[in-house]
């Protein structure tokens, strides 16, 4: 096992399922035998605020927070949030971005506009960025509520965990009766990231 800590930063907007995804990821990391820590701040998130969850794993993890510029992989559930997190990603970091824009009420005022093309800006920094239309993909599979799991599938291509472990943890976490469909969503995400 490498002594280096792996840092995965998950960002999005309250209600998108960021915390479910980071829960599953950190559980997978622990069950793979790593020391693992995960950190986020609850409270205001439910009210449409920014959500960011830090997942760190390796031989020994001290701080629960990823240092600035230290994220090896970014998983963004929302386009502008991917852009906001750019400075936290390592120079050689990878990114998976969900193609979804959530425009906050503040954009209706004079002071702020939603960024023109966040995906292009992220790609300029991270040429290998993987963009996934997770909602459309989930809709095609028959259930829109699997965005978190599909995005984890896309993320999984950048991490070194076995499919069996992912499957076990995901099945334990998703609502009963949706296990098979969620597993399909995970595999679809993995496939999209690989292509």
């Amino acid at each position: 096992m490498s002594a280096k800590t792996t840092n995965v930063l998950l960002v999005g907007v309250g209600g998108q399922g960021v915390l479910l995804a980071s829960d599953i990821l950190s559980q997978v990391a622990m069950e793979a035998g790593h020391d693992a820590k995960k950190s986020e701040v609850h409270g205001m998130a439910q009210r449409g605020g920014v959500v960011s969850s830090h997942v760190r794993f390796g031989e020994r993890v001290w701080s629960p927070i990823i240092p600035e510029g230290g994220a090896d992989v970014l998983l963004a559930f929302e386009e502008a949030e991917a852009l906001r997190a750019m400075h936290l990603v390592a120079p050689d970091g990878a990114a998976v971005v969900n193609m979804q824009r959530i425009i906050p009420p503040i954009a209706a005022g004079k002071d702020w506009d939603y960024p023109e093309d966040p995906l292009a800006d992220v790609r300029a920094r991270i040429p290998g960025m993987v963009a996934v239309a997770a909602r459309d993909e989930c809709k095609a599979l028959g259930n829109e509520k699997m965005v978190s799991v599909l995005l984890l599938g896309a993320l999984s291509a950048s991490l070194d965990f076995g499919e069996d472990l992912w499957r076990k943890v995901i099945l334990a976490r998703v609502p009963k009766g949706t296990g098979d469909l969620n597993w399909k969503a995970f595999q679809r995400g993995r496939e999209l990231a690989a292509s």
């Binding site: 995960k38 409270g43 993890v61 701080s63 629960p64 927070i65 600035e68 502008a80 702020w112």
Partner: protein, 602 residues
């Protein structure tokens, strides 16, 4: 029973600090837990209610009551825990200070969950001072594992030294998950109430004697601090020695892996002699602590040279970025961890009231009354932000009513004076303010925002919800009856979303001389059930782009790219987010908003 011959692998869980404290309660045989919800402490009692059914847990109307309930259990020889956020301990400070004199019969651990960086609080006070103020020992876990282990350690210290013990968490400890190895649950018997006049009746003659006991206890605790393995030295490079506790320790370990450490688990009283010996062995001594120079000042007072706040600063959370900059400036890090690129300027997402939130409907009616609106602590504080901007103050739990009274006694501008307070906050500490308003005949209008839940902290039960923390049916306090019993004569109950009724009630209340109460009643849009009624839709043939609906601040509304003839952008409703509260429909001056079920030409 025979001992099992095989070695059991301990169960390992990924737990938040709060969940770990709950597991620690189970393992330490804690019998009772009581508290009031408050970020970041809330999940401790919630986890206990869900996962430890054998333990009795309850929400109390406020933290003072919660701590007293826990103290009563401890006096009765049962291990007990009281939980609250940092500012909650201010409310519970009265019993805390004298509980220190009384001591305990069985273990009593008082959890304070501080919020450096004010993620969800009105200040970032450093509650370590309470340990010294109340002269009680304090434990400061650095990880989820320690959060669990320190409950049992705290109970043992509490019983051994006959004192309440402060367990100090911070947001980053409470809400970070880490691996916890479970231990075995140890049932502890309830000893029962033992009458002891001199110990439990704090009249001056007894308390005077107990003060001396407290000072003697402190000396014993100081000796204990020197020997306990809750504190430990970890030798590394002796060029640099670091004294740290809580989250400061892990942040320091991250950035200074090679240094020597004096790691404190017992954050107060400090092992000053141990630290003095440690200091003598290292070339340079630094203290890594969040917020106040609590450790640093004690070391300096003891004549132990060290640096601290000059490196870490006094404000906010000690993130790796912030700490790294301080360490680099002090020449302790070769290269400050620098971001790979500048932070992009992306539009902010200030938290907003949810779509369908009943508070929005109320404040849309209150705003045109041009009053001074004394606010309180809860989701409705968000109404202070644009575009609503209808709350003028936010001080502490219950302060809306009392500050409104004070203002009403001196104000000369003739504006109506409102106090806006939620149902849970009213029951927490608004009732006494209202009693004051009646007693001293204050000409104010109190708006009780009755959404029947403690919403801001995630939907906890309270005395008006009809359910306990453990899920049992409970007697439900009737707010109109309660308010009338306090002596308010002008009491009205309205439905928040009914704009004409709310406006009429506000006018009548303003008209009334003396205290009046408007109970604005509508369930929270999210809890206990997410409200989903027929959504509304904008008719693009009618919408003139006047933005009246947008000024309600509902996040389900946004501007489209579609332009009116006059070049104004039209509004669209996100039907998946719309709860069907009808506020936008009611405020639209052009009747451009209709139920989505009615056919609107696309």
């Amino acid at each position: 029973m025979e001992a099992s011959p095989r070695q059991e692998t301990p169960l390992r869980y990924l737990l938040s600090g709060n969940e770990a404290v709950a597991l620690g309660c189970r393992e330490a045989g804690v019998h009772l837990g009581a508290g009031y919800p408050g970020t970041p402490s809330t999940e401790i009692l919630e986890t206990l209610a869900r996962m430890v059914p054998e333990m009795y847990v309850q929400w109390s109307p406020n933290e003072k009551v919660g701590l007293e309930v826990a103290a009563g259990a401890a006096m009765t020889g049962a291990r007990a825990i009281s939980t609250q956020k940092h500012v909650g301990l201010n409310v519970a400070a009265d019993p805390l200070m004298t509980l220190s004199y009384m001591g305990v019969e069985a273990g009593l651990v008082v959890v304070t969950a501080d919020d450096p960086e004010l993620h969800s609080s009105q200040n970032e006070q450093d509650n370590r001072h309470y340990a010294r103020f109340a002269k009680i020992p304090m434990l400061e876990p650095s990880s989820s594992q320690e959060a669990k282990d320190y409950v049992a350690a705290g109970m043992e210290i509490s019983e051994r030294f006959d004192t309440p013990v402060l367990l100090r968490l911070t947001t980053r400890i409470s809400h970070s998950k880490g691996i916890v190895e479970a231990g075995t649950a140890r049932p502890v018997e309830v000893k029962g109430f033992r009458k002891d006049y001199k110990k439990y009746v704090m009249v001056p003659a007894n308390a005077r004697v107990r003060h001396a006991v407290v000072e003697e206890r402190l000396e014993k605790l100081r000796a204990f601090a020197e020997e306990t393995d809750l504190n430990r030295v970890e030798w590394g490079d002796r060029k640099l020695g670091v004294v740290a506790a809580g989250v400061g320790y892990v942040q320091a370990r991250e950035l200074l892996p090679g240094a020597s450490y004096y790691k404190l688990g017992l954050g107060w009283p400090l092992p000053l002699e141990g630290i003095r010996r440690f200091a003598a062995e290292v070339e340079r001594l630094i203290v890594i602590e969040e917020l106040d120079p609590f450790i640093e000042e004690q070391l300096l007072a003891a004549g132990i040279a060290c640096e601290g706040k000059a490196i870490t600063g006094l404000l906010g959370e000690l993130t790796p970025g912030r700490l790294g900059k301080g360490l680099a400036a002090a020449g302790l890090l070769a290269d400050a961890p620098a971001p790979a690129s500048e932070a992009a300027t992306v539009l902010p997402r200030p938290p907003v009231l949810c779509p369908g939130c009943p508070h929005r409907s109320l404040f849309v009616s209150v705003k045109p009354k041009r009053g001074n609106i004394f606010g309180d602590i809860g989701c409705y504080t968000l109404a202070a932000l644009p575009p609503l901007q209808t709350i003028d103050t936010c001080l502490d739990m219950g302060a809306s009513i009392s500050t409104a009274i004070g203002s009403s006694k001196v104000a000369t501008d003739g504006k109506p004076i409102f106090a806006a307070i939620g149902d849970s906050t009213f029951l927490h500490s608004g009732m006494t303010g209202l009693l004051d308003a009646v007693y001293n005949d204050a000409n104010i209008t109190v708006l009780i925002l009755d959404n029947r839940v403690t919403a801001m902290t995630g939907g906890q039960e309270h005395p008006a919800t009809g359910k306990t923390l453990m899920g049992k049916a409970a007697k439900q306090v009737d707010l109109p009856t309660l308010v009338k019993a306090i002596g308010v004569e002008h009491v009205q109950v309205v439905r928040n979303h009914d704009q004409p009724a709310v406006k009429a009630a506000l006018d009548a209340a303003i008209e009334h001389e003396g205290p009046s109460v408007v109970i604005a009643r509508a369930p929270c849009a999210l809890m206990p059930v997410k409200i989903r009624e027929t959504p509304y839709r904008v008719d693009p043939a009618i919408c003139v782009g006047c933005k009246t609906c947008l000024r309600t601040g509902c996040p389900a509304l946004s501007l489209t790219g579609a332009m009116t003839a006059k070049g104004l952008r039209q509004v669209v409703i996100d039907e998946a987010a719309c709860t069907g509260c009808s506020l936008c429909f009611q405020v639209c001056p052009h009747d451009a908003i209709r139920l989505a079920s009615e056919e609107v030409p696309a």
